[in-house]
Symmetry: C2
Subunit: 335 residues, 2 copies
Amino acid sequence: MAGRISLAHGEGGELTHQLIQEVFIQSFGHGEQARLDAAVIPCFSGKMAVTTDSYVVDPLFFPGGNIGKLAVTGTVNDLAVTGAVPKVLTAGFMIEEGFPVSDLKKIVKSMAAEAETAGVSIIAGDTKVVERGSVDGIFINTTGIGAIGEKDLNPAAVKKGDAVIITGTIGDHGIAILSARQQLGLLTDIKSDCASLNTLLNQLIQQTEGIRVMRDLTRGGLATGLVELCEDFSISIELNETSIPVHEEVEGACEILGFDPLYLANEGKAVIIVDSKEADKVLQLLHSHEFGKNATLIGLVASISEKAGKLKLKTPVNTTRRLTRLSGMLLPRIC
Amino acid sequence: MAGRISLAHGEGGELTHQLIQEVFIQSFGHGEQARLDAAVIPCFSGKMAVTTDSYVVDPLFFPGGNIGKLAVTGTVNDLAVTGAVPKVLTAGFMIEEGFPVSDLKKIVKSMAAEAETAGVSIIAGDTKVVERGSVDGIFINTTGIGAIGEKDLNPAAVKKGDAVIITGTIGDHGIAILSARQQLGLLTDIKSDCASLNTLLNQLIQQTEGIRVMRDLTRGGLATGLVELCEDFSISIELNETSIPVHEEVEGACEILGFDPLYLANEGKAVIIVDSKEADKVLQLLHSHEFGKNATLIGLVASISEKAGKLKLKTPVNTTRRLTRLSGMLLPRIC
């Protein structure tokens, strides 16, 4: 097929057919379950989790991944932290006229490879093409469906003293994107942490007891993710700043650029709130896995009440300050 | 909140939180089923249909609808023609910095209203904001999940002589969009036919026998939709051109502009292939419904074989020509 995407590739006619055959079916397969307008799959039993995310990351290719890999890992992780086993994804592509077909193929191949790694099938898709200047390159939406098994999270059981664990270092994705944008003149070896955490987190739910809630940390970083947790479950959390794992290079880049790693995006990290009695076992399991080897206990649930909902940070000099959501603009199009 | 969307509304921090509270939850509700990262709902029994579609229509507001209404009807219809009862939708918004909040509210309200009409819940969402010029206004992705009941379509039973029925006039959406673009100087009263067909089609499946397959006709129009059906099910169809219902104004606009209504987009029309013995009953049921009142028998399945797969059109002068997929560019960003 041609070297660049044209408007006619999005018109639903002959060229759309060709694009689907030569790019999408090539990587994703046709699927037994495909009917013309929708995919048909057997229902799971129990409950299902459904999530959607659009990816507009700039640049499209960055150290450690690209928009296609990210579009799979991000949605897989949203399902995994909800306690679900991710099963199927849909993919919607919005492409700019003139976009190189070779880049599209690379992106689609990354999606297929990451879907295989995560054990999910991409069962339905859609492509739109818009005029030059009406979208910046390519945006991708993925929507995911997962099955919640008999062993579920138990947020209602959260209690004072519960452990707050993070699965690894924070801020890697944010700094990798900044570095890829080059205009900031930042040279680091930091790669995005984007990874599918479902195998790790599903295993954790199956092999331990007392996991209350999990959350993946994307836009807004660790601080914003925990503030939302605190508000949603009426708990207060106290973090210990010196315990929070940060790559030396991320720390260095943050100092130069004036960023706070607590607010930088991550794409392969989750926080886990668990009964303190099980914390050691959870850490041990995390440490045995590639994506959990830097897992650390970073804080505790300090109180529970209608009036709770606060995130506090104990600093190295033993003072305590309250953390709020990210406010104002830090890094647009980070994912 | 502010009058225009800013990049910070898409950062996942305080302003994103405000946008979700004041615009999305206001219209869509919070939902009992919402967890932080995904919605959790009971699984259906049997099979489920899953479909995804992104909407990039230009202009955003047009006679008969807007991008929000379209994003619901389009995805609902993809599920309905698959034989499913649409149950839930997700909504992903990609918004340009500077987009008027008042327009966003109008769009979101239309989505909520149409979802109510169609009987579906919008259970999960996502918002991204990109810099001015990186997207044209707003794009919306909706992904839908529906339940396939015990009574399903039966494409395997399709046979020679089966009736091909269309639920109403063709080309209305295409001409409404062209007319709304104004630059074509086209003045007609034609409104987009965008409508949720699920009640009509679900009822049809329940109350009749012998429905083989259904298809909604969007990009590429009636001709492209039927060519795909012919190829996918190895059947040949012969259409009777004089039977195909077209609004006089659509016919007139097509003559002036040189368009063929057979290739114009529709957003509230389906073709139904049904056992000829049941055709009268199907037409009768369709005629009793607002969205089926102009339903017409437009052709027959002419042959079935590995070598079939052709769409033929009998013209008013009794010659027969073969119709192919839409080729080349007709109307970008029609949906």
